[in-house]
Amino acid sequence: MPTKKEPIWIARELSKCSGCRKCEIACSLFHENRIWPEASRIRVFMLVPGSDFPHFCAQCEDYPCVKACPVKALSISKKTGAVLVKNKACTACGKCIDACPGRIPHMHPTENRIVICDLCKGYPQCVKVCQEGGWNVLTKVPRKDQAYKLYARTPEETTRDLVAKMYGEQGQEYV
């Protein structure tokens, strides 16, 4: 297990996701002290029933969102490798969403700012609850020199992959 000082990554085995949304519950409880699925930094999409999967920051090696921010509201945590949002600086312009290959960041539902996974200071709550259930869709691993950006995919792209695997050709009709 990585120690708290190392940068981390959340490995994800999407086709195993049960869609229980405990990650959304844990994330929003941690950050907002409410059960608030739309304010969660990790959101479970189910564009086709059964193809539920968590959509959240992939921490790309080159951090295109951080580069795209015109007001320097985004930075990279040296401790964890997470993208951090300076809430006060963010103008909710949405440029980070467009820069993200997976269009992963989304606006906070009631405040004028973006929300991005901050890895809970190195102790991601989503991983914790996912592992409690014994499914291990999400696993915390040490961050190494790997192509994490591959996982920054739009909900439609990931859904197409998952339904191809689950339902074969006919799955594409449902996306």
């Binding site: 949304r21 409880l29 002290n33 539920d52 959509h55 259930g133 014994g134």
Partner: protein
């Protein structure tokens, strides 16, 4: 305002297109909580004085989609669908799993009250406080999977267009009907997520009668504020940990039942309940799992159990069939009850039933009834429009299911559900066909028999339930027992999944209610006052019935005749239900619940519960 509630309800009149927000006072919410309890209250207040005249499929009926204060908090999200039932002519609190209840609460509503009838097919699209009635002509006639795909895409495009800077929009949660609901089939469901269904009650037909194809909702707010979040978090953990301990329950869901309930407890419907035992190992959970399950853990909001599994047929003539599990009820009713003992055929038929928007339990029941009539030569191939309805012939049952969903030929009669079909076909054939109808008060018996005495329902569980054959609302004594009908009312009024309450003490459930709402609730108060009040309301509306049928407790507080035939085979061969024991138990139950010897709620108890107008309405039945 009581905590744990969004605080307002949406009322939509489909005749006028008028949409408004309404509120219920604290006293009403305290007494009736939500879901099933509140449904009984709303229906009585609005329709009680003319109950017997209300046609469940007419414009005056009210369709309810209600959450409860525990929805989204108690693990396993559900929504309660209700109205005057076209099956029992009473009230059923019919719940279905999924994210709908959570999305609705996050949109700021505790429920939706739908009145009137639309001229053209429509669907409701709710995004927080923006509520639209939109045309559904393009999805009318479409099956479950097509409907979900089309409306999911359409709603997400609307959101994207209206809120271009938000980022990616998740799918809204959706409830919908298939062709069966559109055609007002009394065994039609209100469905979610392709495979989930509110089946008992027949509210798919009510939704169809209102020309309401679907309701889609996206809420961006938090769940309503609770009284004690720390305590809520702790209680969520208690429920989760309890579920995590039961490895096989999680691994198999109810999917082990298809073999075991027959083989071990002799309480599974086999060939329209002519037997309840089978030892067909071909129907074992191992074969479902190894051959068809492509996802082993699928769940609804917050659920630690994940009793759902996704089954897909990838080869052979049924290639392309997709459904969940099938769960035990679907295995039984679309399996052994039709003489089908292969997982492949069962998965195929369940997938078809999902697509058509039919209830697998009640359609499996009525198809089994028809097959027995064919077996006995009462219904001929000609009567069945050329279908040779032999036990085990899955293609024949698939053809029949389609006929039922579209009300074609014989399907039009069977679409009335088992009880009404028995009366109608009996009239044509000039025979009493009720001995073959395995139902109670218009509602098919769930797939758990009583003859062996080895399963959970008791000998009066269906006979005296206010929800007829509903296996999730069975009754018995003691009234305040852990799995009594009064605790069923708690689950369905707090609105969460009862599967996650297995092994959870009543105390924890009441503590949960208190942590969310800030209101103390004891078992005593619940069972002797609040739940009992809901039960009496449901009983009153059930007995007032109408317009096509009414129930007389002396005749209809009864088990189906079949349950008095001896079991013909298996380890419990010869066992049957003792009529004298049923009468004795029924009398004790009547006394405990406050009903007179004829099964009518007593004035004394109704007055004590503050139900004076109910008492007055029941005068004519005494």
């Amino acid at each position: 305002m009581i905590l744990g509630y969004a605080g307002k309800f949406l009322e939509v009149n489909l005749s006028t297109g008028n949409v408004k927000e309404i509120k219920f006072g604290d006293v009403v919410l305290k007494d009736y909580v939500g879901g099933r309890g509140l449904a009984a209250k709303i229906l009585w207040d609005r329709l009680g004085s003319k109950w017997g005249k209300i046609d469940p499929l007419g414009s005056e009926n009210i369709l309810l989609f209600l959450t409860g204060p525990l929805t989204g908090y108690f693990p396993g999200g559900r929504i309660c669908v209700s109205g005057k039932s076209p099956q029992s002519n009473g009230v059923v609190g019919s719940t279905v799993g999924g994210e709908f209840g959570v999305e609705l609460r996050c949109a700021g509503y505790d429920g939706i009250i739908v009145t009137g009838v639309s001229e053209k097919p429509v669907y409701l699209f709710i995004k927080d406080s923006d509520v639209e009635i939109r045309g559904a002509g393009h999805v009318w006639g479409k099956d479950a999977k097509q409907t979900v795909a089309t409306l999911t895409k359409e709603c997400r495009e609307l959101l994207k267009k209206r809120y271009p800077r938000y980022g990616e929009w998740k799918e809204p949660a959706m409830l919908y009907v298939g062709p069966a609901g559109e055609n007002k089939v009394r065994t039609a469901v209100v469905a979610a997520k392709w495979t989930h269904a509110a089946g008992y009650g027949g509210y798919g037909a009510v939704m169809g009668s209102k020309k309401l194809k679907a309701v889609a909702v996206k809420g961006t707010g938090p769940l309503p504020e609770v009284a004690d979040m720390k305590r809520v978090k702790r209680l969520i953990k208690v429920v989760n940990n309890n579920a995590y301990e039961d490895e096989l329950w999680r691994r198999w869901g109810t999917g082990a039942g298809g073999y075991e309930v027959g083989a071990k407890t002799s309480s599974e419907p086999v060939r329209n309940w002519q037997d309840e035992w089978h030892d067909e190992k071909s129907f074992g959970v191992d074969q479902f799992e190894n051959r068809f399950w492509i996802k082993h853990y699928w769940s609804d909001f917050g659920c630690p159990t994940c009793c759902l599994k996704i089954a897909v047929i990838k080869t052979g003539k049924f290639k392309g069939a997709i459904t969940d599990n099938p769960d035990y009820e679907m295995q039984a009713y679309l399996g052994p009850n039709l003489g089908i003992f292969t997982p492949e055929e069962n998965v195929f038929l369940t997938s078809l039933i999902d697509d058509l928007g039919l209830c697998g339990i009640q359609t499996g029941n009525v198809m089994g009834f028809a097959a027995e009539l064919f077996q006995r030569g009462i219904l001929t191939k000609k009567d069945l429009d050329g279908i040779e309805l032999k036990w085990g012939d899955v293609e024949a049952f698939a053809s029949l299911a389609k006929k039922i969903a579209f009300r074609e030929g014989i399907g039009d009669l069977l679409a009335e559900g088992t009880y009404r079909a028995a009366l109608k076909i009996g009239k044509i054939k000039n025979m009493d066909l009720l001995p073959y109808a395995v139902q109670s008060k218009g509602i098919s018996i769930g797939a758990h028999g009583i003859r062996s005495g080895k399963d959970y329902p008791e000998i009066i569980s269906y006979a005296c339930s206010v929800q007829g054959g509903d296996h999730t609302s069975t009754t018995g004594l003691p009234l305040d027992g852990g799995e009594s009908e009064l605790m069923g009312i708690f689950n369905d009024s707090g609105v969460y999944c009862n599967f996650n309450s297995f092994g959870i003490s009543r105390k924890v459930r009441f503590n949960f209610y208190e942590a969310v709402t800030g209101l103390k609730l004891t078992r005593e108060e619940w069972c002797s006052t609040k739940a009992l009040r809901v039960l009496q309301l449901q009983r009153a509306m059930l007995l007032l019935g109408g317009p096509d049928l009414k129930w007389d407790p002396k005749i209809h507080d009864a088990n189906p005749p079949r349950f008095y035939e001896p079991l013909p085979s298996g380890p419990y061969k010869g066992k049957t239900t003792d009529r004298a024991a049923v009468e004795e138990y029924k009398n004790r139950y009547y006394e405990a619940v406050g009903w007179d010897e004829n099964g009518i709620p007593l004035s004394e108890i109704l007055r004590k519960l503050g139900l004076k107008d109910v008492n007055k309405a029941l005068e004519k039945l005494r």
